[in-house]
Structure formats: structure tokens, C-alpha cells
Amino acid sequence: MKLRAAAAAVALTLLVGAAAASRGAAARANAGTVHIKIHYSTFAPGSLDVEPGETVRFVIRNTDPIDHEFILGDEAVQLAHEEGTEAHHAPRPGEVSVPAGETVITTYTFPQTPGELIFGCHLPGHYDFGMRGTVTIG
């Protein structure tokens, strides 16, 4: 019996370890704050989960020697920025420029309805390069 119990303990250890190793890539807002790192023109993490109506403080750190942006919103917002002509604009909730080597903070309250939003950078060529991520609400 003890052999079986020991084997079960080993199996459980493996199971817990494997589950921890294969933890999903989507990050959760931790106490209302999400740290996002921009490196090689890529957001990390690239996907987030938030609760409906949650207010999240985004701390965005740009490690690249080039400027970036963090624009959070739906497809229409992304399109407006992709086609827009604003090189820089005053910070709005969820919309900030992130100069090279700097860290900026923006706070955003998500809608009450479940859905998905996008965050991206719309400096020339950056969005096409793949500089975007998703936020799942709900």
C-alpha cells in the first residue's frame, strides 16, 4: 500500500509540476497593476485577462532604443491610430507614447461587458511588424 501511496505522490508531483510549467501565456492583472515590457518591438506579455469593469494600472517599460506607443482599445481605435497623423498626443487613459528607454504609466477602466480589446503601437510600420496584444475581458 505504501508503495502505491508513494507512486501516487510522485505522479501528483509530476502533474503539479507539468501544470505549472504549461501555465497559460495570458497574464492576469495583479492587484490592479500590469507590468508590460517592450523589447525588440514586442509587448510582453502579449495577452492579458481582466475582469469586467476592472480598473488596471499599466506600467509600460520600453527597453528599446526607439520610441513606441501603447494604445488600448477596440479595432476602431486601432484603425484610427493606424491611419491617424498624430506623431504624439496628450496622454489619454489607455493611450500613451512610450519614449525610448523610459517607463510610463496609464490607468484604464475596462467596460462591464465581456469581450476583447487590443493594445498596439502605431508608429510607422510597428503594428504591421506585429506590435500588438490582446486583453480578454470576462
Binding site: 500500500m1 505504501k2 508503495l3 508513494a6 507512486a7 505522490a9 510522485v10 508531483t13 509530476l14 509540476g17 507539468a18 505549472a20 510549467a21 523589447h39 525588440y40 518591438s41 517599460r61 527597453t63 528599446d64 532604443p65 526607439i66 520610441d67 525610448a100 528607454g101 503601437c121 508608429l123 510607422p124 510600420g125 510597428h126 504591421d128 511588424f129 506590435m131
Partner: protein, 358 residues
């Protein structure tokens, strides 16, 4: 070309082509960075000659005109001892030597977080070009470029790191619009430069040609090598299918002893006296590859041992195995503890003893 008259005629034609600005040896063998973010897709031509431990890197920068300032960044394998104006016909003479020439008219030569700062090693003005040789990591060089008005596309941070990890030396070149106007430089007109780099390990930057380009875009470039011996390269160039424009990759079009007439013509150009009169090997590699597949540089072993450096080509170091994730270390420790617990359990040991007695 053994006929002196033919040689003189060739040089005359070359000079005429350059004066009319029709010979576009085009952009330098570097990443083009423009204020508007647009990337010019012309072909580039470069000579990388290696003799007595010194790489002579000759390339040409093309003026984009319209008052805009176009810059280019070239990673270098070492600190150059000099940057001089390149010869007037070296690149064009190599093209004539190695590529089929049209017989009739209509000739067209296709032409971080770190607060550290890049160290400026050398500054030079060559005609309308402002040349700066920089030493620094990817972030430092990127910061310098940004602060000096260069536009860097989104793939630049990773690209600069790819080079800075191997050699922290970069050459930045940009046309000064005012000097270009004063000198009457025409749009499309090239300014050759000649970089003298002592290095035991020559290589030609190729991956930087894909900077700012979409994966499917085709990068075209002509790379000429002049070496004391027949060189081995990495990646190895493919065998040519006869100047087939549809053949993709790094294509070796010519590999032969450099003719005495070619060497004599090149030696007669500005700054080319270092070239021996004989005994050099000419290799012409045509680059015709999509940006997505142009992931490495051209490492050259000119020693005759046939061992080009994978590191110089930008391949990861052999010892660069992926780090063992912490979670697996924890798991391995837990499994080991559980195994020991099982082994030390008296009931288990009795049962095992019974099994072995059978």
C-alpha cells in the same frame, strides 16, 4: 581586356557612366534608415577584399535627393583605421568583369534601458556624406542614431543587437542635403567609400540588408570578394544556374583567379594601390533572397583552411544551449525526494527483498 585600347575604352565608358549618374551601384551594403520610414529597394554592390590581415570594404551610397537626408548604418567586423573616398570605378569594373553585359544601348547598371552612450571613434566628411564610426551596444548605437535624426524601423533594436553581440562597431553615413546641393549631387548619384579594417576574421554584413523590409520582399545585392586564396564562405553560396533571376539565395556566379587586367584596372583606381598585381582570387556572390530568409551574414575564411566562422556568420554559439527552466529544476528535485522516500520506506524495502529472493 588584354588590349590596352579596350582597357582605355572601358575606363572611358565607366567614367562617362559615372559622370551622367546612370551607374547606380546604389545603396550601401547596410540598413537604410530614412526620416519618412520608406525603404528604398534598389540593389547594392559591395567589394570586401582581404589581404594581409586587412579587410578593404568598398561600397557606395546613393543620394536620394528631394532635400531629404537619407542615412545608412553598416555593422563592421572591427575598428577601421581609415575611411576614405572609394575609387571611381572599382565597383563598376567588377560588374563588367563578372556579369553579362548588354551589347546594345539602353545599358542600365543596377545599380535600452542603458543610459550609456555610443563612443564616436571617427568622424569624416566625404563629399556630401557625413561618416561616423561608432562603438557601442545595440541600445547605445540605437540611441545615437535616434538622437541624430535617423529613423529606425521596428526591427532595428533586434537587428542592432544581432550585430553588437559580435562586434560593437558601426558606421553611420548620411548625406548632408546642403552640401549635396552645393556640390550639385544629383538624385541617384553614388558616392563610394572605402573602409580599411584590420581584422583576423573578415565578414560581410548581409542580414542588415533586410532591415525595415517585409518578410516577402526580395533583397538584391552583389558582393565581390578578392582574397589571397580561394575562400570558403558561410553560409555556403549555391551553384549558379546562369544568372537566373528566379534563383533565390546566395548564388556564387563567379569563382576564379582574378585576371591581371582586372587587378591592374582596380589598382589604378583611387586608394587601391594595396592590391597585389597578381595572385588574387575573385568571387562574385549574387544575393537574391527574401528578407525572411536573409538571417545571416557572410563569414569568409580566406586562410585556405576552409573553416569560416559560424559566429562571424551570426549563427548561435555552440555552447549557447537554452537555459534549463527553473520549474523543471524544482520538479526534478521533488521527484528525487519522492524517490528517496519510497526507497527508504521499510515496507517497500521488505517487498523489494521478497521480489529479489524470487
Amino acid at each position: 581586356m588584354r588590349n590596352p585600347f579596350a582597357r582605355a575604352l572601358t575606363l572611358t565608358i565607366l567614367t562617362a557612366i559615372m559622370l551622367t549618374g546612370a551607374a547606380g551601384s546604389a545603396l550601401a551594403c547596410g540598413g537604410l534608415v530614412t526620416p519618412s520610414g520608406t525603404i528604398n529597394l534598389l540593389k547594392t554592390t559591395t567589394l570586401a577584399a582581404y589581404h594581409e590581415g586587412i579587410e578593404h570594404y568598398v561600397t557606395s551610397f546613393e543620394f536620394a535627393g528631394d532635400g531629404s537626408e537619407v542615412g545608412s548604418i553598416i555593422p563592421l567586423p572591427g575598428v577601421p583605421t581609415d575611411v576614405i573616398k572609394g575609387g571611381d570605378w572599382t565597383l563598376q569594373r567588377l560588374i563588367i568583369e563578372t556579369q553579362p553585359q548588354p551589347e546594345a544601348t539602353g545599358v542600365q547598371f543596377l545599380a535600452a534601458d542603458s543610459a550609456g552612450r555610443a563612443e564616436v571613434l571617427l568622424e569624416k566628411k566625404i563629399d556630401a556624406l557625413d561618416i561616423t564610426v561608432l562603438k557601442g551596444g545595440a541600445v547605445e548605437v540605437g540611441n545615437w542614431a535616434r538622437e541624430h535624426g535617423y529613423f529606425l524601423p521596428p526591427d532595428a533594436p533586434e537587428m542592432l543587437a544581432f550585430y553588437a553581440d559580435r562586434s560593437p562597431i558601426f558606421l553611420a553615413a548620411r548625406f548632408n542635403a546642403e552640401r549635396a546641393a552645393n556640390r550639385g549631387v544629383q538624385t541617384g548619384q553614388g558616392t563610394p567609400i572605402h573602409v580599411v579594417i584590420p581584422t583576423p576574421n573578415p565578414w560581410v554584413p548581409l542580414r542588415i540588408l533586410a532591415l525595415g523590409r517585409k518578410d516577402a520582399e526580395v533583397v538584391q545585392a552583389d558582393v565581390y570578394l578578392l582574397t589571397d586564396r580561394r575562400p570558403e564562405t558561410l553560409p555556403q553560396a549555391e551553384r549558379s544556374k546562369g544568372f537566373d533571376e528566379n534563383q533565390r539565395g546566395l548564388i556564387q556566379e563567379v569563382s576564379e583567379p582574378a585576371s591581371s587586367t582586372l587587378l591592374a584596372d582596380l589598382r589604378s583606381d583611387r586608394g587601391m594601390k594595396w592590391l597585389p598585381e597578381s595572385g588574387m582570387w575573385l568571387t562574385y556572390i549574387r544575393i537574391n533572397e527574401t528578407a525572411a530568409n536573409l538571417k545571416h551574414d557572410l563569414a569568409i575564411d580566406a586562410s585556405g583552411y576552409g573553416r569560416p566562422s559560424p559566429l562571424a556568420a551570426g549563427y548561435p554559439a555552440a555552447s549557447g544551449a537554452a537555459p534549463w527552466p527553473v520549474i523543471w529544476t524544482v520538479m526534478a528535485a521533488l521527484v528525487a525526494v519522492a524517490f528517496l522516500m519510497v526507497l527508504t520506506d521499510p515496507a517497500v524495502r521488505r517487498q523489494a527483498a521478497r521480489v529479489f529472493r524470487r
